[in-house]
Amino acid sequence: MGANVVTIPAGDSWQLPSRGRTGMISLIVAESAIFTIFVAAYVFYIGKSPDGPTPKQILHVPIFATICLLSSSLTMHAAADSLRRGKTAAFRLLWILTLLLGLIFIISTAREWHRLIYGQGFTIETNLFGTTYYSLVGLHASHVIAGLAGLTIVAILGVLGKVRSEHSERCDILALYWHFVDAVWIVVFSVVYVIGR
């Protein structure tokens, strides 16, 4: 029997935005809303901790890690670009470079936390500042880790020679997420290390 289908000629060509990209942008909007609330809480609570330590006393500004994370956006962009042009060797190199830069960032965060927790005895429980600091930075770090997991999968597939230019759409979508994570860091960095310190 089959469906009684409408068949009326529509004329010109029919092209819609890719669903992967639309989905990723929607996800980024949702994530941005989560970060907005955490940032709002952080800003609201700046200087409200009744007891120390204060940010000025214990936080070291992570300049090197920040430079690494931000430049990983550039290498990511270049990697995606090379894949689109079919230069898989360049892609592989740049992608792995991105992964390494991201790893440097997360390792330096881990070392910073180690210093704070074991060196200074400063934890999420210590005071209100500790609560907001570990939550906001930790929320961002967990996104970096999620991004790194994605990057690693693609890197492994790339080394196995399974990533070709027809996959560039997917890599672009992952790149979108990575750029978002980097952009959030600019906000987190400004709030925690510039305004809040």
């Binding site: 068949t7 609570y45 409200k48 209100l128």
Partner: protein
């Protein structure tokens, strides 16, 4: 082909059927699971409401203990918003949107299944608290902190045991499901429309799903964030809402309502979609003012993001804060009024068919209007100082949620049940359902405004005699009997029509959107060949090739 699939059904064991449903990624099956799951929770929350109404029917009642009463209103509210209204609306959207835009499935079928199961798991987790919420520290079972769980009530000192953790975790998990669902709807609607289905030709139901999903992205996420903070406080000794360490309880209230107010629009906007599909078909006219309708919905979506503190007039705000939130809330009335006039204008001069879906829509129109008016009253800060946290507020929001949202959901059931099952619901039982439920609704909620005006606070487990509240409460409680009877008729109608209803055929209502072009129920792949459309009413064009819509649009 039909006989083949029947043969297959016969040979499958029950286990295989269960497996098939659990593993499915078909948007129709997932939509149905959302709907059935929500109906189960509807019954549970209804029982909770009945218990509370028995307790409040007369003064000094000892039917329930105060502790149980607190658990009941918390579970009733939480269940209603997160595990009845949201899933039922997500379910309908899941089932209908791909069909309406001429797609074969959602953009991400596996994400779709994941989202459903997260939501389902969230609901089960909430109710698992009845068995495990006590924890080792002898706290209460089931959450009892109210559906908005104001701090510091949720602090470990005031909520020992795990009941509050169940509340937090279940909403967090269900929230992940909702966000996944919203991402999926947006990607589907933006990227999966069939040829010729431009945004300006899309059925209003699809438009409303788009607006609803966009709102979900920016409202459920703040709730998720706030729940994460609450978990940091409860599990890791954090101080977000801990006033002894400089934390603020007011910031929880802000975060909650930044979620909470847009959430009510997440619930009502898909209902606008139902009404906008059903009213034109039963008025035998095209929708009046389609672009205005879309603009008004998008407008409501935006404005609703800036009104949350009308829930906080009594919390205390500077006068400019009060003024701002009074004004923004009043502004909502403008696009809402546009919508009501559009529906009325669609009916105006039409050949109205008073079938069950349509009469539920008419009920919606009246009741939603009144609910909006009490909303405007509450949005006036001085008036709200008097009535906040009274039964007037309870009456207001039940007027919207039952009189508006639930009525339009009933309309949607009567309208799309034939598409989903292939059989019509009984019109006779439908009319009985409508009238009995209508009487019950008005008995309960019209009269509930009065004790509110007389000063009866919400969330009290009993009250003294002689304050003039008894009669009103008794009438409200009596109304519940009628509402329950109406629901029973509805459930009976759905079950018996499933087996004995008249065969619906593809298009029983002579409607105009694409879901009616395929079989009832639709095949797994929805459309044998993907449709192509040239106007907002593709089926009209098909049925009237001599006078198609696209000549005029």
């Amino acid at each position: 082909m039909a006989s083949e699939s029947i043969a297959l059904t016969v040979h499958r064991s029950p286990l295989q059927v269960v497996y098939e449903w659990m593993a499915t990624v078909d948007h129709k099956k997932i939509g149905l699971m959302y709907i059935v799951y929500a109906l189960l929770f509807l019954v549970i929350m209804g029982i909770e409401a009945i218990l509370m109404r028995i307790q409040l029917a007369h003064s000094n009642s000892t039917f329930l203990s105060p502790q149980v009463f607190n658990r009941l209103f918390t579970m009733h509210g939480t269940t209603g918003v997160f595990f009845v209204a949201m899933p039922i609306l997500f379910g309908f959207a899941n089932y209908l949107v791909p069909l309406m835009i001429g797609a074969r499935d959602m953009a991400f079928p596996r994400l779709n299944a994941f989202s459903f199961w997260m939501t389902a798991f969230g609901g089960l987790l909430l109710y698992a608290s009845f068995f495990a919420g006590k924890g080792f520290s002898q706290g209460g079972i089931a959450p009892d902190v109210g559906w908005f769980a104001y701090a510091p009530l949720t602090a470990p000192a005031f909520s020992p045991g795990h009941s509050t953790d169940y509340w937090t975790l279940s909403l967090l998990i269900a929230g992940v499901g909702s966000i996944g669902g919203a991402v999926n709807f947006i990607a589907t609607i933006i990227s999966m429309r069939c040829r010729g289905m431009t945004l300006s030709r899309m059925p209003l139901m699809a438009w409303m799903s788009l607006v609803m999903s966009s709102l979900v992205l920016v409202t459920i996420s703040p709730l998720t964030a706030a729940q994460l903070m609450l978990m940091v406080d409860r599990y890791m000794g954090g101080h977000f809402f801990d006033t002894t360490a400089g934390g603020s309880v007011v910031i929880w209230i802000h975060f909650f309502w930044i979620f909470g107010h847009p959430e009510v629009y997440v619930l009502i906007i898909p209902c606008f979609g139902f009404i906008s599909e059903i009213v034109p078909v039963f008025s035998r006219k095209a929708m009046f003012g389609y672009p205005a309708m879309v603009a008004a919905s998008v407008g409501i979506g935006f404005v609703s993001l800036g009104v949350w503190a009308h829930h906080m007039f009594t919390v205390g705000m500077p006068s400019y804060g009060n003024a701002f939130f009074v004004l923004t809330t009043m502004v909502v009335a403008v696009p809402t009024g546009i919508k009501i006039f559009n529906w009325l204008a669609t009916m105006w001069g039409g050949k109205i068919v008073f079938a069950t879906p349509m009469i539920f829509c008419i009920g919606f129109l009246f009741q939603f209007l009144i609910a909006g008016l009490t909303g405007i009253m509450l949005a006036t800060a001085p008036f709200d100082w008097q009535l906040a946290n009274s039964y007037f507020v309870v009456a207001h929001f039940h007027y919207v949620i039952v009189g508006g949202i639930l009525f339009s959901i009933f309309a949607a059931f009567y309208y799309w049940y034939p598409k989903i099952t292939g059989r019509m619901l009984s019109e006779m039982l439908g009319k009985w359902h409508f009238w009995i439920f209508l009487i019950g609704f008005h008995l309960t909620f019209d009269f509930m405004h009065v004790p509110g005006l007389l000063g009866m606070p919400r969330r009290i487990y009993t009250y003294e005699a002689g304050r003039g509240w008894e009669t009103w409460n008794m009438i409200s409680s009596i109304g519940v009997i009628f509402q329950a009877a109406g629901i029973l008729i509805f459930v009976y109608n759905m079950i018996q029509s499933y087996f004995r209803g008249t065969i619906a055929g593809n298009d029983p209502w002579d409607a105009w959107t694409l879901e009616w072009s395929t079989t009832s129920p639709p095949p797994e792949y929805d459309f044998a060949t993907l449709p192509v459309v040239r106007s907002r009413r593709p089926l009209w064009d098909l049925k009237h090739p001599d006078d198609p819509d696209w000549k005029y649009e």
